[in-house]
């Protein structure tokens, strides 16, 4: 499991625009570099990042809404620096859970959740 660092305010006012920062520990090996033996280092990249928001009221509604709304997505290429860092925004409307997912080469798939409370 890769280590992640997610920064989201614990509470926000309704309609406040919050900043979300997400960092994951990963080498983002480009596939162009060589080791000290001269062998090409195999490509190992994180390819996709998504952030979804699941409103808290989802418990008594239908199951489809538990997937949440996609609020931000990113497709990465080799030109993204090691330990990919992203910062983006969200207009906070209701309390709920933010679901962060990273997918990449060699079967990498990781999901982290952070709750957001609207005061």
């Amino acid at each position: 499991m890769a280590r992640t660092l997610i920064t989201v305010p614990r509470t926000a006012k309704r309609d406040e625009i919050i900043e979300i920062r997400a960092l994951v520990q990963h080498s983002m090996e480009t596939g162009y570099r060589r080791s000290s033996d001269g062998d090409l280092l195999p490509r190992d990249l994180i390819r996709r990042f998504t952030c979804r928001f699941v409103p808290r009221v989802a418990a008594n509604s239908n199951a489809a809404s538990t997937a949440g709304d996609l609020i931000f997505a990113a497709t990465f290429h080799a030109a993204i620096a090691a330990n990919p860092y992203l910062s983006f925004n969200l207009r906070a409307t209701t309390s709920g859970t933010l679901v962060f997912s990273w997918e990449g080469d060699n079967g990498l798939a990781q999901t982290e959740t952070v709750s957001l409370l609207i005061a």
Partner: protein, 148 residues
């Protein structure tokens, strides 16, 4: 030259240097082709996008970038995507970001790799299909991709 006229003229010179507008650089044909492909027939115009990156980069391994787009981000009028292309890395793609009116603000920041001194372009696609760009030129002193 009289002192007074010298001071007046030199003040004018300083002012002209300081207020020099950010000249639109001539976009490289590589980037123009990439943007055209991404736009897929939509109108591409310069403006509304601000690509924030250091003009002089000491180390190309991790270069902070921030792209902001002038948009109200309402359901009627918002940015749906921001894409970054580079001119001279081994691959021209850098990243594609998807946004929606839920974002509240059309902004994304990340860190990228730069192999050498080159141009970069940020393209924002609006929900009405129009595309807006900002091209920047970056001087890289120590490139990415060289260290073992």
């Amino acid at each position: 030259m009289k002192r007074r006229s010298f001071l007046a003229s030199s003040a004018g010179l300083v002012a002209s240097v300081m207020v020099r507008p950010v000249a639109a650089i001539e976009q490289s044909s590589v980037l123009t082709a990439l943007v055209k492909e991404y736009a897929a027939g939509a109108v591409v115009r310069e403006g509304r996008v601000k690509f924030d990156i250091a003009r002089l980069v000491d180390n190309g391994n991790s270069v902070p970038v921030e792209v902001t787009v002038d948009s109200p981000m309402t359901p009627q009028q918002h940015v749906v995507g921001i894409t970054l292309f580079n001119e001279k890395n081994p691959q021209n793609d850098v990243a594609q970001f998807s946004l929606s009116h839920l974002s509240g603000r059309a902004r994304v920041a990340t860190r990228i790799r730069l192999a050498t001194t080159q141009q970069l372009v940020a393209v924002a696609k609006m929900n009405d299909g129009s595309c807006w760009t900002h091209t920047v030129e970056v001087l890289v002193t120590v490139s990415s991709c060289i260290e073992e």
